[in-house]
Amino acid sequence: MDEWLKQNRSEYALMIRVINQFLAQSFFPVPTAPAQSGHYREDHTQSILELLSSFPESHLNLPLKVFSLGPVYDPGHGRWAETVDVEILGEGGPQHELMAVQLIMQLIEQWPRLAEKTVMVMGHLGLLDQAMAAEAVLPVVRHSVRDALRAGNLVQAESLLAPTSPKTRRLLLPKTYDDFVRALQDTLPEADFDHIARLQNAIDQHMATRWDLSLTGNWPYYTDLVFSLYLKDIGQPLLNGGRFMADVHGRTWHGVGFTLYLDSLYQAVQQEMEQESHDL
């Protein structure tokens, strides 16, 4: 029992450390309820936006940096996962994508050995759509490809693209940055490569990256950059996020956000935390 209690204590210490980091970066906490309309909360973003939408538009001072914490229900595993959900609300443009990525890197830096255990995988729904359009894929097929990828069905997405779009199809497999840029230049020479390079540089100095346009994020509100930070050899994400647009009660919200899974983070930094407390 002592071990169990100690572990709980460490997990809460980790949560406090993460929260303090966001508070120090001028993020505001937004308390959200664990159930919405009779359903368990699976995502904080909708709840955050519903709460903020209850304020008159004139009260909003954008960009707004907020976070919410608490468990979300994971129906796949039938369990609750302790999370922190972070949102940068405003125009949700490339600057905010970069800001979110830099924020994640600052968080990872808290644990010097964490970066070497992680890989950041980047996808981009906007680029995927542009690549398909450049190969004259019909809008209805583009929609089906996005749906298939969101459902985790790469077989169907590749099959839809097979006859006419070999270049886009190549972008649906994970690649190093250099290979990705080469493949993208071949498909979409007019893409904003400067922005892609800025994102890559922000991450590359800390950890390995892979680019994969089959990564579309878990939620239908994502529109452009999506990302997952994976723990090597563990098979679970440390965080997932992306740029989104969401209509809530007649108000359109743009932003970039991510969900940090505290259980996975604890698993990754447990040894470092134990060493830190031992050194103290």
């Binding site: 129906p75 796949g76 595993h77 890989v119 995988v121 985790g152 069905n153 790469l154 077989v155 169907q156 497999l173 994970p174 892979r210 994969d212 089959s214 990564l215 878990n218 997952s228 994976y230 723990l231 090597k232 050899d233 563990i234 098979g235 679970q236 994400p237």
Partner: protein, 204 residues
């Protein structure tokens, strides 16, 4: 590229037999000794490790990251969907169909009973056709249901159709076609290049 950091979970039965043939065709050493009752074979440089389990457990092993890849029928993936895996290849073996069958080649007239182990697939199919049905869940020997009067129709998987014929049953409609699918843990798929290499060998 070596496979000493790759594990594949394979469903018992036809899928496992088909996987053995595929492994041999692609020059991959097959890890399973026929005399052995072992269910777990660790990876080596020349071939991935292997884990053998019941079909419906394969997506769980992959989603949890215990196995990097899995081989399981599409029928199982449709019946037991798992949002934490991705389908990365159609391996084109263990092909079969999920069908509606009964004593006569005739669509049910009015509300009816359907005996099946594919409750989700059957419910979705009849919902699309706006046809009221009562699903009788069974885990096996479905062909008995019309014979003993439990349900006039069944939704079951067929390969050649000989089992249906033996029980004087006929196919009424094909609900879906199935084959062995290679599935992957999303994290491992995107961070271990060896998985794509293995997919390309298994699905040239």
């Amino acid at each position: 590229m070596t496979f000493d950091n790759v594990t594949v979970a394979v469903a018992k039965g036809r899928i496992l037999e088909g996987a053995e043939t595929l492994w041999e065709q692609q020059g991959l050493p097959w890890p399973i000794d026929k005399e052995s009752r072992k269910l777990w074979f660790s990876p080596e440089a020349a071939r991935p490790g292997m884990l053998i389990a019941r079909a419906r457990d394969i997506p769980t092993f992959v989603a949890m990251g215990i196995a990097d890849l899995g081989i399981v029928g599409l029928d199982v993936l449709e019946e037991h969907p798992n949002a934490q895996i991705i389908q990365v290849a159609d391996l084109h073996f263990a092909t079969c169909r999920v069908v509606l069958a009964g004593k006569e080649r005739q669509w049910p007239a009015g509300p009816t009973r359907i005996a099946t182990k594919y409750q989700r697939i059957a419910q979705a199919y009849f919902a699309v056709h706006h046809h009221p049905v009562e699903i009788v869940p069974l885990s096996g020997s479905l062909e008995l249901a019309p014979v003993i009067g439990l349900a006039p129709y069944i939704v079951d998987i067929v390969d050649t159709g000989s089992t249906l014929r033996q029980h004087q049953l006929v196919e009424i409609a094909t609900i879906m076609e199935s084959s062995a699918r290679l599935i992957a843990n999303p994290s491992h798929w995107r961070t271990k290049p060896a998985l794509e290499q293995l997919r390309n060998r298994l699905n040239p």
